[in-house]
Homo-oligomer: 186 residues x 2
């Protein structure tokens, strides 16, 4: 079984007008995705931003739940947030996983859009079931990962489809569905 | 195909100490679950609270995205929030669906806990595929729906299982996974 890592990318991502921007860190992204990550056996959840003040904000949130009042008030939250690691860049994230596992992770982008070389969820499930390098799934904030990131990855996962054409899930919901499709017991 | 409705219950639910409480409405619960609801063809998403000031808060949020600046800034959000209806109580929610469809909905509770008479996701998928009364899925906030509510429903859906014993998904993530399991195309 291949190890699964997640990274929530705050830069580089598109904004609504297709401009490359850095998005803000939000409290709910950290909490919700950490809880989903622990539910589905993710090894580590990287929150990636180059902005120091936003990293400091994230550290404050993590410290509250890891060591502050939150750690006593809600232990289940403490357990989930223990999976969160802050990183400056995608490259640093890759290096951290390489240090932890001795292997370069295979990069898998997620996207709400159709396009070339999309890998199906079934194919990805099969790859996870095999022995292989760790898999790092990239989640874009804002209006999604830039072309520059997509060109750098090994695979792009097919979009999550519901019943119609609406494809505007929150990144928190998309992360939950992604993990359930790849790892859920049913 | 049976119609699907969702209700996010803010009262009566348990708090951490198993006391029956009313939880607060949060902006993110409204947005994230509305976006998942539209993705998966839910007919209407009820936000249920007896507290007038919290209803007024929710109305302000909805108005911003339906008619205010948000409706111009982000149309996809407007479309999702059009599914949201405020209700005082579960009974009012049931009546609203009865008025809309001419049928009393079948009530399905969701729970993170195992217990008696749990219905599997596969069984529920089959029921949705059949012609039948509308199905109203109840999502609890806080530490979940009270026993009083569970005694009132027709079915309780089995808990969402990941790879271990941790069962503390956010209600936003649980709603997304629930809908994907019942209605997702793959």
């Amino acid at each position: 079984m291949a190890d699964i890592y997640l990274a929530l990318i705050h830069y580089p991502v598109y904004d609504k007008g297709h401009k490359v921007v850095t998005t803000s860190i939000t409290n709910m992204d950290i909490h919700d995705i950490a809880r989903s990550a622990l539910t589905y056996g993710v090894k580590r959840y990287f929150v990636v931003t180059p902005v120091r003040t936003l990293q400091a904000l994230a550290e404050k949130i993590l410290d509250h739940w890891q060591h502050g009042y939150g750690s006593v008030y809600n232990e289940t939250r403490k357990d989930a947030l223990a999976l969160v690691t802050l990183a400056d860049t995608l490259n640093n994230t890759i290096q951290a996983i390489q240090q932890e596992t001795g292997e370069r992770p295979r990069l898998v982008a997620t996207s709400a859009r159709d396009g070339d070389r999309r890998v199906s969820f079934t194919q990805m499930q099969r790859r996870i079931a095999e022995e292989g390098p760790p898999l790092l799934f990239l989640l874009g904030t804002g209006w999604g990962l830039t072309e520059e990131v997509l060109e750098q990855v090994d695979d792009i996962l097919e979009p999550i489809r519901g019943v119609g054409t609406y494809n505007h899930l929150s990144v928190r919901s998309a992360a939950a569905i992604l993990l359930d499709r790849l790892r859920g017991a049913r």
